[in-house]
């Protein structure tokens, strides 16, 4: 985390002015400058309160770096409140470390200004090899060989997964079964109708199987097929050669 770039994972959301402060020290310096107080004799209680109020206003109080600084300020504030004996030589100013860090940071900020200015000046001079990023050029005219296109299309088609929906597995015709059924009927009766062969509720596969079986038997002269009237039911008659046999 570089600057207080924060996101509330809960989605409640708070937006921080990203570049405004690059860290708790930056914010602290800002407050000190705003109040025009002496950095080496920091009014810690006042600054700590301001710091807390700003980070809660900006939603920074959820950023660890800022929270840590807030805790540090409060600790120093508490230490300053502890009574101490007059003329205590052993007493160390609890603010000393923070002041040192602030001064150090302030120095860095001054260098940042200097570096930023130097970079700005430098950026106004272009070197020979510098190539600006090209503007959004229109797409190049399409040049494509028909064979390439077809090959590409084939590759794409090959990649398309075969749809698995409604895959119908055809049931094979059961001609043998139908033949056996017809032969059984022939053994019983000399003549019978088409409806006796297929029965009720026959599927199209059953009908086809029976029909092919009948044609086959007729071809072998086992039966004689006749239709007494147009569109009338087919009549199956046991063939005479069978009787002879």
């Amino acid at each position: 985390m570089t600057s207080p770039i924060l996101r509330d994972p809960g989605g409640g959301g708070f937006v921080v002015e990203l570049e405004k402060f690059s860290g708790p020290l930056d914010l602290l310096l800002h407050l000190i400058h705003e109040d025009e107080v002496d950095i080496t004799d920091l009014p810690i209680a006042k600054i700590a309160d301001q710091f807390l109020s700003v980070i809660s206003d900006l939603g920074l109080n959820q950023a660890a770096d800022y929270l840590e600084m807030a805790a540090r300020l409060l600790r120093i504030k508490a230490q300053m409140l502890l009574p101490r004996r007059l003329g205590d030589d052993e007493w160390e100013d609890p603010r000393a470390e923070l002041v040192r860090r602030l001064l150090e940071y302030q120095q860095i900020r001054e260098l940042v200004d200097w570096l930023g200015h130097a970079a700005d000046v430098r950026s106004e001079r272009f070197g020979r090899g510098y190539e600006a990023p090209p503007p959004d050029a229109p797409p190049a005219p399409l040049q494509i060989d028909l064979n390439d296109l077809l090959a590409a299309a084939e590759r794409v088609i090959a990649l398309i997964p075969e749809p698995m929906l409604h895959r119908v597995v055809p049931r094979p015709l059961d001609v043998e079964g139908a033949t056996a059924r017809i032969n059984a009927l022939l053994a019983e009766r000399e003549q019978f109708g088409w409806s006796d062969v297929v029965g009720h509720g026959a599927t199209i596969v059953d009908v086809l199987s029976a029909f092919i079986a009948l044609l086959e038997l007729a071809k072998r002269s086992s039966v004689t097929l006749s239709q007494p009237e147009p569109f009338g039911p087919m009549v199956i008659t046991r063939a005479t050669p069978r009787e002879a046999a």
């Binding site: 600057s3 708790p24 570096l115 000046v121 950026s123 070197g127 600006a132």
Partner: protein, 182 residues
């Protein structure tokens, strides 16, 4: 111009980055450092008053750069674009690394008061800093330093061109090494 000056001029024109004295010397092994410097001075003088470009000493080398006054016009015409500005966080980190190098991430974090890992990664990616060595401390942390690109983007010739800390209005010198204390 002398033949050597013309040769250097051609090389500097062709190069897209600053060329160091050693690099320029490789063009003509017979030329000594003095001759090279004299030739560079000759080129610089030839361009100085009345050319749109000038020979600039930068990043421990020399490079032809356009004069500042044309920046805006050139940029408006989109013949060249200024590089994006570095963020304050990046500049802070660069400043600390430039002055404290070789320096580890922890020290940068400490001075800035925030985690600087992401900024350091970005600066590494842009080639403005590099890993110089490893520290002695726990886990032998990586120590970073600035690269010639850092000097180049700031238009500096060497790190000595950076302001000295004593010159800054905030007086805080680097803590003296222990062995220098009395």
């Amino acid at each position: 111009m002398q033949p050597l000056a013309k040769l250097l001029e051609a090389a500097l024109f062709a190069a897209s980055r600053p060329l160091t004295l050693e690099e320029l010397a490789s063009l003509d092994p017979g030329a000594g450092e003095g001759a090279l410097r004299a030739a560079l001075a000759e080129i610089r003088a030839a361009y100085d008053p009345d050319h749109g470009v000038e020979l600039v000493e930068i990043a421990d080398g020399w490079q032809f750069l356009t004069r500042r006054e044309y920046a805006e016009t050139i940029e408006r015409a989109q013949f060249a674009l200024r590089p994006r500005r570095l963020s304050p966080a990046a500049l802070e980190t660069l400043a600390i690394i430039a002055y404290r190098q070789p320096v580890g991430r922890l020290e940068v974090d400490e001075i800035r008061g925030v985690d600087s890992g992401a900024v350091i990664d970005k600066l590494l990616e842009r080639g403005l800093i590099e890993v110089m060595t490893r520290g002695e401390g726990l886990g032998r942390p990586l120590l970073y330093g600035t690269t010639p690109s850092f000097l180049e983007i700031l238009g500096l010739n060497d790190l000595g061109d950076l302001p000295r800390l004593e010159e800054l209005s905030v007086a805080l010198r680097r803590p003296a090494p222990v062995d220098e204390l009395e």
